[in-house]
Each structure stands twice: as structure tokens, then as C-alpha cells.
């Protein structure tokens, strides 16, 4: 198993956000982490990346407890853009290349070239969508075992969403797994192997996407709407 969460609990003060999460992800899968706003998606992602500490339970990444070693294996796209807008593209690439052993400079330049982003461009003149694409290019240019993408398509137009999906698919190889959270389900469901539904800090479904479709005769989006009707 590439990722194993055992009895993971996390609270913010008195508010329980993750309630005994158990999860196993194998290698070579694209997995959707689907839940409403405030269901615990981002918190789960943050504890896997050790940006938040656990209250209870354990998380193993490729057999290793989360920590410095597991961070080498995970390439993480946070919800927010964290790149320094006063820097040039090439400075950020050098920074990534210094920081991550598995970073592939040629690959990122190729991806940015497709987007018509030049090494001397400054981030401050880029649009929000462009910065998101740039950040995704950086994240997908690491040769990681696990890619964790938190809302990779939040706030971008449908054409850009297609570009982002293509980039994810084209850079996904057999040995790695992609875990991505989203609530734009209908846009991404065709690329998913497995779906995880999370609601109120608990996992309510964890199954094969095509199996769920044939069992229900519905799209993942419809099943989601029914499961989580307000």
C-alpha cells in the first residue's frame, strides 16, 4: 500500500474534524477525494502532508511514518497559491530544483513552454489562472510516488480545467498515485479510478468509480448529490 491511514483523528479545539479515518491507497491509481465544503478534505490532506499533527492514529506513506522521509515521496499542490509573486519564473524553478531531489527541470520548462510562459516572466504580471497552471506544472514535474492535489481546479474556467486534467493524465505514470480533492465532480469523474466520499469527518464511501456507476446506473456526481442532499 502506498498510503495507509489508521484511526486518524483530528480536532480543532472542541470541533472534531476527522473522526477515525481509515484509508488505504494502492499504487497506480487516480483517486478522487470528494466531499462538501467543510467535510474535512483539506484537513485530511494536511495531516497526510504533516502540515498538521494528528491527535490520534497513524499515517504510513510507502511504509514510512509521515515525516521528512515521507515528504520526499509526496508532491503536494495546496489549495492556495504560495509562490512569491515578486520572483521570476526561472528563480522559482531554481528554488524548486534546489529543494527537491526528484525535481525535473527539463520537464517543467517543457510544460511551461506549452503554456507560453517564459523563464524571465514575473509572476506578478500573470493572471490567477496562469499562476495556478504554473503551480501545477511545478508539482507535476517532481518524480514523486504520491501526488496530492487539493482542489486543482478551484476557480478556473472550463477550458483551463481541461488543460489541468490533461496535464495530470499525461504526467501520471504506473508507479505513482494521484489523490485529488474537488467538489467539481462532473468535470473530473471520467479520469478517476477510485472515489472516496468524505462527510462530516468520516469516510462514507471508498470504491471503484466504474463499479459505482454500473451498480447505481448513475454518474458519480449524481450519487454524490443524493448522498449529501441538504
Amino acid at each position: 500500500m502506498l498510503l495507509e491511514c489508521k484511526n486518524v483523528c483530528k480536532s480543532y479545539g472542541k470541533k472534531e474534524v476527522l473522526k477515525n479515518i481509515n484509508l488505504k491507497l494502492p499504487k497506480g491509481k487516480i483517486v478522487g477525494l470528494l466531499g462538501k465544503n467543510g467535510s474535512g478534505k483539506t484537513t485530511l490532506i494536511k495531516v497526510i502532508n504533516e502540515l498538521l499533527s494528528l491527535d490520534k492514529g497513524s499515517i504510513l506513506v510507502d511504509g514510512k511514518m509521515v515525516g521528512v522521509e515521507s515528504k520526499k515521496l509526496i508532491s503536494y499542490l495546496p489549495e492556495r497559491n504560495y509562490l512569491n509573486v515578486h520572483k521570476k519564473v526561472k528563480d522559482i524553478i531554481d528554488y524548486f530544483s534546489d529543494f527537491y531531489e526528484d525535481f525535473d527541470k527539463d520537464k517543467v520548462y517543457k510544460l511551461l513552454d506549452d503554456l507560453n510562459i517564459k523563464a524571465d516572466d514575473k509572476l506578478s504580471v500573470m493572471s490567477k489562472g496562469m499562476r495556478e497552471k504554473m503551480q501545477l506544472a511545478l508539482v507535476m514535474s517532481r518524480r514523486a510516488k504520491l501526488y496530492i492535489l487539493d482542489e486543482p481546479m478551484g476557480g478556473v474556467d472550463p477550458a483551463t480545467r481541461d488543460y489541468i486534467l490533461d496535464t495530470i493524465l499525461n504526467n501520471f505514470d504506473d508507479g505513482s498515485t494521484i489523490l485529488m480533492s474537488t467538489h467539481l465532480i462532473s468535470d473530473i469523474e471520467r479520469v478517476l479510478d477510485e472515489v472516496i466520499f468524505i462527510d462530516d469527518g468520516k469516510i462514507t464511501r471508498c470504491e471503484n468509480a466504474d463499479k459505482l456507476r454500473s451498480e447505481t446506473g448513475k454518474s458519480i456526481d449524481e450519487v454524490f448529490r443524493e448522498d449529501f442532499k441538504c
Binding site: I30, L169, R190, A209, D210, K211, S214
Partner: protein, 115 residues
Amino acid sequence: MFSNEKPIYMQLSTFLAMDIVSGKYKAGAKIPSVRELSSIFKVNPNTVLKALSELENLNLIYTERTNGKFVTKDKKVIDNYLKKLAFEKTKIYLNDMNKLGFNKNEIKDLIERCE
């Protein structure tokens, strides 16, 4: 291109089967690689693998070790599949027309008038 309501691998295998019976991929021709298909149809490579294994089960394609996947050289298999598809489509059509209250002779008449 795919509907989200049905398993994507089934839709993809039907789509590729149509390409084979319609002659887009001829008997004995090489099928694009998993990665190419995944990129063409914008689906997960695992979905492509599953779709191809469906076609392999139907004997429409076969694997040549290390070389990739090829359309069967047996034209009979392709022909039989084409007939099966034609039969299924006709059945669906007849069913719909029956629901609309047409009998066989009226349907035949309609088909002729459409031509």
C-alpha cells in the same frame, strides 16, 4: 464524449469495437498504445487497460508480447461482431417504435419512405 452514467471502460470498449467493425482499424492492424489512447480519449490509463481487456475477451484484438495490441486477423470474428451489433441496434429501434404504437409493416413502410 462519454456519458458519466455508465462505466467509462464499457463505453470506451464499445467505441473501439465500432472503430474495428467500421474498418478504421483494419484486420491485423496495430492499436494505439495505452498511453496514446488515454491521451486521445482523455481517460485514465487503467480505464483503457480495462476496455482493451474487454475487446480481448471478445477476441476482437490480441496481444503480441512486447509489440502491443493488434486487431484480430480473423475477419469472421469481426463480421460476427458487426452482425451482433446490427442486431442489437435494430432490436432497440423496434422496441422504441413498438412503444410509439407502430407495427412491423408500418415500420417497414416508414423505412422505405425515409430512403
